[in-house]
């Protein structure tokens, strides 16, 4: 881990200091029931197969292009098949998403909106996105609650 961090430190994204998110910062931790934790940096996530969803949401204006890692890909990567995913956010919000729903609708952990990385000030760095526009049946409170922004930790249950 340390060698990773050292070699990639120069690649940290700069710009506005507050927006900056170092590529080697852990942005996602997946914990399993056995107590094991898997940590992911933005770069690691970007190295995984990418998926996109174009959709509108109740919290944004118009349709946007979201890109990131499909939850199915992440679970495959970790070789786990949990019943549900309890997603915690930076702001202490959490939601329990049935894995079946995440898989059925190909939910993604979006890291980019319209090609730009998502900052913490704009629901980043990770936002669970469901294809609301494509599946109007998802356009209800219950599913809206699954769309956790500023996601940080996922408990596989």
């Amino acid at each position: 881990m340390n060698t990773w961090r050292n070699s990639l430190v120069t690649l940290a994204l700069l710009g506005s200091a507050a927006h900056a998110m170092a590529a080697d910062d852990v942005i996602l931790t997946v914990t399993r029931s056995a107590g094991q934790a898997h940590h992911f940096t933005l770069q690691q996530l970007a190295a995984l197969p990418q998926a996109s969803i174009i959709t509108a949401t109740p919290w944004t204006t118009g349709k946007h292009h979201y890109r990131g890692v499909a939850i199915s890909t992440l679970l495959q990567q970790l070789q786990i098949t949990p019943q549900a995913l309890k997603v915690h956010a930076l702001n202490d919000f959490w939601a329990r998403i049935p894995t079946a729903v995440a898989l059925q609708y190909q939910a993604i952990l979006a890291t980019h909106v319209d090609g730009q990385p998502m900052s913490r000030r704009n629901k980043g760095p990770l936002w669970i996105i469901l294809p609301l526009s494509e599946h109007p049946e998802l356009n209800q409170e219950k599913y809206h609650n699954y769309m956790v922004w500023q996601a940080r930790t996922i408990e596989a249950e």
């Binding site: 200091a17 507050a18 109740p58 919290w59 204006t61 930076l90 913490r120």
Partner: protein, 638 residues
């Protein structure tokens, strides 16, 4: 009418569906609006407040060295993000537009944005951070105000109000549904009541029908010690009113009768129409004890009066038959049967059209049923000795070489002795045995005359009485069949009809007469003088013979008026070419008188009573032998 009703019910069902759908949709919509508004706006506001407070807190902790720059940056970003979300998107639009929340949140976000650099490169002692903290402190109480207002202010109530309105609309919808349900129920109720009424009542008179009547009788007699008097009212020859004035007139008369009965009924009288021209009055309670007689007599008289005024030709006759429970009958069925018997007796009696049941009627009825059974058996075996034929000679005055004879049926019942011939005919007719009886007559006659020498038989003419049921279009074929195989030729057969038989349908009668004549079968009008004795028969139908009833012959010699009638009938008949037969000639002076008047043939005890077949053969031989000889002598002399 049925179609209209169906469409109405279909419309009601559609309304049901429409109102239900609308009400559900309406409630759903309101519920959605209200819940999304209240829940999302409450949540968004609360989260916003928390995140801003956290930022303030972290800011203060950072200034006092109790938090690091990362924590500060995180809570800063989270607050920013929260405000950014609040200011964009559909979810928070409603709350944004209320209480100038948007403006306030923009001002707070503006504070954050203005101090971005101080957060990016922070220092606990940076006065800018302190400035930012103060600015936030100044704004946050207003955030609190909006929170409170959102929960308690008029807008919150407005949402409740919205729900209330939806509730009222739903109640109104349910009210409409209930109203329609009630209308539908009322219609169904009315319909079923109507159906029920139709099942138990007669449409024309609105009186209970036969089924209801039987039901009521069973109920009335069910109580112990119950006494019931049943009075059946019947109109005989009512059909003639229908036939000549149309069914509307007949219906009107029936309705008038029903109305009259209704007017005179009291709470102890039950009325019903149990047949086309038959009504029933059931009297119970006190009525059945003593006043039923006077009451029924009164009704009888009232109905008589009504019929007299409505049927001036007096064709319709009113009959009443009465039976009592338990005095006469021991069951409902018996009571109805006994009243029917009394009614039958009333119909048959020329004077008393009002009859109360008595045992004699039942005896008569049972006797008839018994006889009917016997008769059926007897007719099935042609050679029986109980039933046989008698032959009464008829002397032809101008043609002494010919001899007439009338066949008379005799029934010597082993227990009841001789049965009256008209009774035999009636029993046969009432039990559908008319044709069988006719067939038996012919068969027995052929059997009897089989041993008559042909030389004798040649001179004898046989008269046979026809019952009404065989007088129809098949008569000629049937008689031809019965004569088939001899020995009697059709030309020696005379069929005797009574007036009432030929009267029913003059057109048909004429046709039958023509057919009979083609076969050389002759027709005699029997018992002339006892019935209507209408000239129209003589005008419309061509009889070969006319038989004057014995009531005109008896005491013909002593009465002054009788000969006038007989003379007139005889003269008229002769002018029409009809031969006249006098029946019941018993004395020599009667014979002289009738010969004087000019009758052609004589029947009666003066010449001979009815004889057995053998005795008649003897009589015929002697009669014909002497007359043929006489004729021959006369011819020889001439």
């Amino acid at each position: 009418m049925g179609k209209v009703r169906f469409l109405f019910f279909a419309a009601v069902m559609c309304t049901f569906l429409a109102v239900t759908a609308w009400s559900t949709w309406n409630y759903e919509r309101t519920f959605r609006t209200v819940t999304t508004n209240t829940q999302t706006s409450a949540w968004a506001l609360a989260q916003l407040e928390i995140d801003v407070y956290r930022l303030q807190e972290t800011l203060k902790l950072y200034q006092t060295g109790h938090a690091d720059s990362k924590q500060l940056s995180l809570s800063y970003d989270i607050a920013w993000n929260r405000m950014d979300v609040f200011l964009t998107g559909e979810a928070t639009r409603a709350i944004r537009q209320r209480f100038a929340a948007e403006e306030l949140v923009r001002r707070i976000l503006d504070v954050l944005q203005r101090h971005e650099r101080a957060i990016a490169v922070p220092s606990p002692s940076d006065p800018t951070l302190a400035q930012m903290s103060r600015e936030l402190d100044a704004l946050t109480p207003r955030l609190r105000d909006i929170m409170v207002q959102n929960f308690t202010g008029p807008n919150a109530l407005q949402e409740t109000h919205l729900l209330d309105e939806a509730k009222i609309r739903n109640f109104a919808a349910i009210g409409i549904l209930l109203l329609f349900s009630l209308i539908m129920l009322a219609l169904l109720f009315r319909e079923s009541k109507k159906q029920h009424f139709l099942a138990w009542n007669d449409v024309l008179t609105q009186l209970p029908n036969r089924a209801a009547f039987m039901h009521q009788l069973a109920q009335l007699t069910a109580a112990p010690e119950a006494q019931v008097v049943l009075c059946l009212v019947d109109l005989s020859r009512f059909k003639e009113v229908n036939d000549s004035f149309g069914h509307a007139a007949g219906d009107r008369l029936l309705a008038q009768i029903a109305e009259l009965l209704q007017q005179h009924r009291n709470e102890e009288v039950y009325l019903a129409r149990i047949g086309s021209d038959e009504f029933a009055l059931v009297m119970f309670g006190n009525m059945s004890g003593y006043s039923w007689f006077a009451y029924s007599r009164k009704i009888y008289n009232q109905l008589e009066r009504l019929l007299h005024s409505e049927d001036p030709a007096h064709r319709v006759k009113l009959n009443m038959g009465i039976s009592q429970y338990p005095q006469h009958a021991s069951s409902v069925e018996e009571m109805v049967l006994f009243a029917d018997l009394a009614l039958l007796s009333a119909k048959q009696d020329k004077q008393l059209h009002y009859q109360v049941f008595n045992r004699f009627m039942l005896d008569q009825y049972q006797r008839k049923r018994l006889l009917a059974g016997h008769l059926q058996e007897l007719l099935a075996e042609p050679q029986n000795t109980e039933l046989y034929l008698c032959y009464q000679p008829i002397i032809n005055i101008s043609q002494p070489q010919q001899l007439g004879v009338e066949l008379l049926i005799r029934w010597n019942h082993p227990k009841l002795n001789f049965i009256n011939p008209p009774d035999i005919i009636q029993i046969a007719e009432e039990n559908g045995l008319g044709e069988k009886l006719g067939e038996w007559l012919f068969r027995r006659m052929r059997h009897d005359i089989a041993r008559f020498p042909a030389d004798t038989l040649r001179h004898i003419h046989f008269s046979i009485n026809l019952s009404s049921s065989i007088f129809n279009q098949n008569l000629v074929n049937r008689v031809s069949d019965w004569l088939q195989g001899g020995p009697l030729p059709a030309s020696q057969l005379i069929l005797e009809l009574t007036e009432n038989i030929a009267l029913e349908d003059v057109q048909l009668s004429r046709k039958i007469f023509t057919q009979l004549k083609e076969k050389q079968i002759r027709i005699a009008l029997d018992d002339f003088g006892t019935g209507w004795s209408s000239f129209s028969y003589l005008k419309d139908l061509s009889f070969d013979k006319l038989k004057i009833d014995k009531s005109f012959i008896k005491h013909l010699d002593r009465d002054k008026r009788l000969p006038l009638f007989v003379q007139a009938i005889t003269d008229l008949s002769h002018q029409l070419g009809i031969s006249v037969v006098a029946e019941g000639v018993e004395t020599e002076s009667e014979l002289r008188k009738i010969l004087e008047i000019g009758a052609n043939e004589i029947q009666g005890y003066y010449y001979s009573r009815p004889l057995s077949a053998d005795a008649f053969l003897d009589y015929a031989r002697h009669y014909l032998a002497s007359n043929v000889r006489e004729t021959r002598t006369r011819t020889d002399l001439a």
